[in-house]
């Protein structure tokens, strides 16, 4: 969101950032009715477009309500399932990533990893804090557009190095210093879009790392410069393996749009792991219209990706790392139950560091935002010192303290996932399976091929709904979506 001050609202007290407009407490009593099509957000968007001639650029992911992990529930153990004792019986959480072809696969202690976020979009202390937090719990962190920094390599035990279309700062030395390589094709917030870093964040250091002038808007390319399709990608991956002695896992990151085909092609191109990012996934700076209207929700993408892996006979062999709106251990458990091997968090990690902290309310108000709403991550004015390159603001973030908070979040998410897994009778998080889940909405049922809670109905799956047994497993039941069994493509 960009706040606008123009001649016709500058003198208007409701446009004053210190006293933001409040809706009347009871509009209906005044005979006022908000228009569902032209609601206040829409009116504000039209006004800003008309007043500035600019489209909106912001950080974060899709804000609209979308089918999500909240639309799934775990069934828990029952007469036919045997639960495990909380805090006593083992429920392991480790995950190995990249054993398909890499000689040195990653062995992470928790399946919750830190997503790739560029230095440039984030401050040096924020990158350091991410490394510290991730390392404290034995998980990985990831570089981003703009290259590898000392802060991050130095404080990350396990660092995934992104290989992006812009290749800003890309060099073979850093490839060799990384623990894994992530070839980025797209992001969930903007499948088909390149990066963007506005001039105000381009300091000498950021510009130097990217070989570009200071202070100009930096567009990162949306296409890789030296390969064009999956056949070329195969050769590119071989080149990366050769340069790193076949040691490092090679991930391929895709923004969720056609996940079934993209995953099938990435497998064919030789990926060790797939990173799948849904449309709720955060970004540092993208056009609002792109964030809200391009790509599909995380929930919708997972099942298609898992089906592509199963059809190739490589489910759990080529790991699936899911991101885009992962907030809690419940989200982690649901992603794993649907067939993911791990998840990545971006936005939640920034919140753990201190983003949108209510204690900064007054400062957010000064820049036209509010705690809980702040998404101008492109603007470089972050009072929390996270999405900025301003040395004064960056200094506000203590990487040790912030890293400790992130470690806490990662531990809580892992423990929450364990609580659910034990309730489902699973001695390892990766034993969670689709059969543990039901859907709360018809949309979620159709997207995940799980039956609507309390029914045996999976929209679109023949033989479900109504027939005795159905998906509940009785005689004549439709084939359940269990484990690695291939299921019919819808």
């Amino acid at each position: 969101m960009t706040t606008i001050t123009t001649a016709d609202n500058a003198a208007d007290p409701v446009a004053d950032a210190a006293a933001p407009p409040c809706p009347p407490s009871d509009p209906a009593a005044l005979g006022l009715r908000e228009n569902a099509t032209f609601d206040r957000t829409t009116i504000a968007a039209i006004r800003r477009a008309a007043l500035t001639g600019l489209y909106d650029i912001r950080g974060g992911g899709a804000k609209r309500k979308l089918p999500h992990f909240d639309d799934l529930l775990f069934l828990g153990a029952s007469m036919s399932r045997y639960p495990l004792e909380g805090y006593r019986e083992r429920c392991d959480t480790d995950v190995i990533i990249g054993q398909r072809f890499a000689q040195k696969p990653l062995h992470l202690k928790t399946p919750v990893t830190i997503a790739g976020m560029s230095f440039g979009s984030l401050s040096g202390p924020a990158k350091e804090a991410l490394g510290r937090g991730a390392s404290a719990v034995g998980t990985s962190t990831t570089t981003g557009d703009g290259g590898m920094t000392e802060e991050e390599r130095g404080h990350s035990d396990t660092l995934v190095y992104q290989y992006l279309p812009s290749r800003y700062g890309m060099n073979p030395r850093h490839l060799r210093m990384a623990d894994a390589i992530e070839v980025v094709l797209g992001q969930g917030a903007k499948p088909g879009g390149g990066g963007m870093l506005l001039g105000q964040k381009i300091t000498d250091r950021v510009a130097g790392m990217r070989t570009l002038p200071v202070g100009i808007d930096q567009r990162s390319a949306c296409r890789h410069p030296d390969w064009t399709g999956p056949d070329d990608l195969r050769i590119k991956i071989l080149e990366l393996r050769e340069i790193t002695d076949w040691e490092k896992p090679v991930y391929v990151k895709i923004g969720a749009s056609r996940p079934y085909y993209d995953v099938a092609l990435a497998i064919k191109a030789g990926a060790d792991a797939i990173v799948l990012d849904g449309m709720q996934g955060g970004t540092a700076a993208t056009q609002e219209v792109f964030i809200e209207h391009v790509g599909i929700p995380t929930l919708a993408a997972i099942t298609q990706a898992v089906e592509a892996l199963q059809e190739a006979g490589l489910h759990r062999e080529v790991q699936l790392i899911v991101s885009g709106g992962v907030r809690s251990g419940a989200d982690v458990a649901k992603a794993l139950a649907l067939g993911a091997d791990a998840v990545s968090i971006g936005t939640a990690a920034l919140i753990a560091l201190g983003d949108n902290d209510p204690a900064l309310e007054a400062e957010y108000r000064k820049i036209g935002s509010a705690a809980g709403y702040y998404d101008d991550w492109q603007a470089g004015q972050d009072p929390a010192g996270i999405t900025t390159q301003d040395p004064e603001l960056s200094r506000r973030l203590d990487p040790e303290v912030a890293g400790h908070r992130l470690a806490n979040l990662l531990r809580v998410m892992t423990m929450e996932a364990q609580i659910i897994a034990r309730a489902c009778g699973k001695a390892h998080l990766l034993h969670l399976e689709p059969e543990d889940l039901v859907a709360l909405t018809i949309e979620a049922a159709a997207m995940t091929r799980r039956p609507l809670a309390g029914t045996d109905w999976v929209p679109g799956l023949p033989g479900t709904g109504g027939a005795p047994g159905g998906n509940l497993g009785g005689p004549g039941a439709a084939p359940p979506l269990v484990g690695d069994q291939p299921v019919a493509r819808l």
């Binding site: 001639g53 600019l54 060099n171 070989t211 570009l212 030296d226 390969w227 070329d232």
Partner: protein, 183 residues
């Protein structure tokens, strides 16, 4: 390759030959496939024949010489490399070129230098349509001097005075709504 070694290939090469080269001197007596010397950091790569697409893509340093022609996207996103092409280059060459110098002794296809940043382009032959924000610029003495040195380094005898220089008009460096139709 991470050492100052010398490599001589008597024949053609496929994709990404001498990719990410550091310090080595590589001579390819035939043609080169896609992405020759891509992301080169330093050293020298000399293709005696022609090169396919994306020659010298994103390269940070060193010298790439192609005696024949180079296909589309030669020098795309180049970040400091010097490239000398004896013949022609295809369309969209030096697309988003950030730094370094690209010398083209033949003709350049359409879209030369589209969205170019600070790289400098020298072309002897004709240029198709220039890309967005790429303009012709005066060839001042310091440019003649650097061009002379580049041609000499590539072992070429072309007359530097016959070249024209192209670079960024720097109009698209910061988004402005009035430029909307240039993008």
């Amino acid at each position: 390759m991470t050492q100052p070694i010398e490599v001589r290939i008597e024949g053609h090469v496929g994709y990404y030959a001498a990719g990410m080269n550091e310090e080595a001197t590589v001579e390819i007596l035939g043609n080169a496939g896609v992405g020759v010397a891509e992301n080169m950091m330093s050293g020298r790569v000399h293709v005696k024949g022609s090169a396919s697409q994306s020659a010298g893509a994103t390269a940070h340093g060193g010298l790439l010489v192609v005696d024949g022609n180079a296909a589309a996207r030669c020098g795309i996103s180049m970040k400091g490399v010097d490239i000398v092409v004896g013949g022609d280059v295809g369309h969209m060459s030096a697309f988003m070129a950030q730094a370094g110098r690209l010398v083209i002794c033949g003709k350049a296809g359409d879209g030369l230098g589209d969205s170019i940043y600070e790289a400098r382009l020298y072309v002897k032959g004709s240029v198709g349509q220039l890309g967005a924000d790429c303009v012709e610029k005066p060839l001042r003495p310091e440019h003649l001097a650097e061009l002379t040195a580049l041609l000499a380094a590539a072992g070429r005898t072309d007359n530097p005075a016959e070249f024209r220089r192209y670079g960024s008009a720097r109009q698209l460096y910061n988004f402005h709504v009035d430029n909307a139709f240039a993008y």
